[in-house]
Amino acid sequence: MSVKLGVPSKGRLMEKTFEWFAQHGVMLSRTGSEREYAGAVAGVEGIDLVLLSAGEIPRELAAGRIHLGVTGTDLIREKLVQWDQKVEEVCALGFGYADLVVAVPQAWVDVDTLDDLDAAASAFRAEHGFRLRIATKYHRLTREYLRHGGVADYQLVDSQGATEGTVKNLTAEAIADITSSGETLRANHLKILNEEPVLRSQATLLRSRTAPRDSQHKRALIALYDALGLDVRNRMVEG
């Protein structure tokens, strides 16, 4: 049986992943028609390419249906409970940088820290009769971050896209979202809190700790790790 390598099936993340592997002498390619999600691997024996939505890769790794996968650390931490028991970070790939940050309207000149956000939330609840709304799709990470930061009197509202627009549309007072340059935030009159971000994320090659493996798998994994020139500490194939 082959080692299954899951990579994002479209967009910049797919292109960058293909480039990164190509730089290491491993050629990934899509096969068949433009619309067909099938792929091939050249340069190492015993590896099958599986094209998946980046958001599904954490789940597939955790379930052990793929052995290796490329996705953002943000998705791994958000979607997997006890992620480090299910997957191992083999290698950070140096692209797809994005921070998960909490952002508030630029007009909130009085809010710069989590401390301020908490005080503003308290006053907001007293004034409006409901808890300050923070729009996000990263519920677990954001909740954990705010709990740790001692923020109370807020509520998370789900936003699966165009999160930066929720404040202007009056469906939230603040947001927690992924940003790389902060441009979209600024364009939407938002500013990032002056705190450590919720999470610093980048595209990462991960290994499933749960996928079934035999001696063939191990040989293929070692061959791939050799080709990628990975540091010896990152060459675990067990557990």
């Binding site: 409970v81 007009a107 401390d115």
Partner: protein, 360 residues
């Protein structure tokens, strides 16, 4: 450890609570989520199962019985009441998948404002009696003393309110104490804001529900706070002294009375502790060897605001407490929209009792 054994133990406990005067009550498993969210905040979502009903809105698998029992009691408009219940509660265990996400709770709740010390003692003695066979260690505390200490601090009303709001979050509480006492530096962004004559001058676009007036009101509050003298080292030392009290009830009482000489604001709360100890003694509780910790219940028992207690298996520190309980007068005020009903109660986990018994 079987479910049948747990149910049998739950039955035994509930019978004991009924014999003590508890009227048996039932509660729906599906509860409106709003009630719990309003009380516990967003954190409850990480600890409870929330589900969506197209007609009824967000529903929650009951994470505890206390809230629905309080609601039931308050809606009946009765003066006093003693209730017992037994059934499953549901808790998500995101960080501890090894812990039970569904388990039985048997509880006893008393609504009776006549003699708080006697009612506290009644509940504690009852739990102590039904749990006697298992050789557990009891811990007690009293959130009322810390609350009184904060209410009595010589500082602005706004600072006292901020501390009270975070009394159940020790880390945040400490950060506020450090800020108010000048031990932690003012963040540079705050200093810059306060140094600016018209901080709103550069604002080009207002978006969102939080208005310019609200922002200005907070800046005003920050200016007033900056003019406030720091919380004195003596006041901080008194709060620390209260938080550090951890000994048997008799010595703790003596110690707290000493502290109250310098901090008269806690005097009444300390005397309530004295009356409770006396009432517990009359009920046969060994007060001389009973542990008391002023900081007990601060992190895990957010709605308790007076007497708090827990029963633990000393030989099994890996297990959660067998029983927990306390006084929650403020909760009834919040749920009763104005009306209140002084209340004390507690719950026992039959699954933990069965886990203890299967080992021994």
């Amino acid at each position: 450890m079987t479910i049948a054994a747990q149910r049998a133990e739950a039955q035994r406990l509930r019978s004991a609570f009924e014999a003590a005067g508890g009227q048996p009550v039932e509660c729906s498993i599906l509860q409106p989520a709003e009630l719990f969210l309003d009380l516990y905040g967003e954190d409850i979502r990480a600890r409870a199962y929330v589900t969506q009903d197209p007609g009824r809105g967000e529903q929650m698998l009951r994470p505890d019985f206390t809230l629905p029992v309080v609601q039931m009691h308050m809606s009946q408009g009765a003066e006093t009441g003693r209730y017992t219940y037994s059934g499953e509660v549901f808790r998500r265990q995101e960080d501890h998948p090894e812990r039970a996400s569904e388990y039985l709770q048997v509880g006893y709740e008393v609504f009776d404002g006549n003699d708080p010390a006697a009612v506290d003692a009644e509940v504690f003695a009852l739990f102590s009696d039904v749990l006697r066979p298992f050789g557990l260690r009891a811990s007690t505390g009293d959130m009322g003393i810390l609350l009184a200490a904060v209410r009595g601090l010589e500082t602005s009303e706004r600072r006292r309110a901020a501390l009270l709001r975070h009394i159940w979050r020790p880390k945040r509480f400490r950060a506020l104490i450090d800020r108010f006492s000048g031990r932690a530096p003012v963040p540079p962004s705050r200093a810059a804001l306060l140094a600016t004559e018209d901080p709103m001058a550069g604002v080009a676009t207002m978006i969102g529900l939080r208005s310019a007036q609200e922002i200005e009101a907070r800046i005003d509050a920050l200016r007033q706070d900056a003019a406030e003298p720091p919380l004195s080292a003596g006041q901080v030392a008194l709060i620390d002294a209260v938080l550090a009290v951890r000994e048997t009830c008799v010595f703790a009482l003596e110690h707290l009375r000493d502290i109250s000489v310098d901090m008269p604001a806690i005097g009444e709360a300390v005397e309530r502790f004295a009356q409770r100890s006396e009432a517990m003694y009359r009920r046969g509780v060994d007060v001389a060897s009973l542990d008391f910790e002023a900081a007990y219940g601060r992190t895990s028992m957010e709605y308790y605001d007076g007497f708090v207690f827990g029963f633990y298996a000393e030989a099994r520190p890996d297990l959660p407490p067998v029983a927990t309980g306390g006084r929650y007068d403020a909760l009834t005020r919040r749920l009763g929209s104005g009306a209140s009903a002084p209340a004390v109660g507690g719950v026992i986990r039959p699954d933990i009792i069965c886990a203890l018994e299967s080992r021994s």
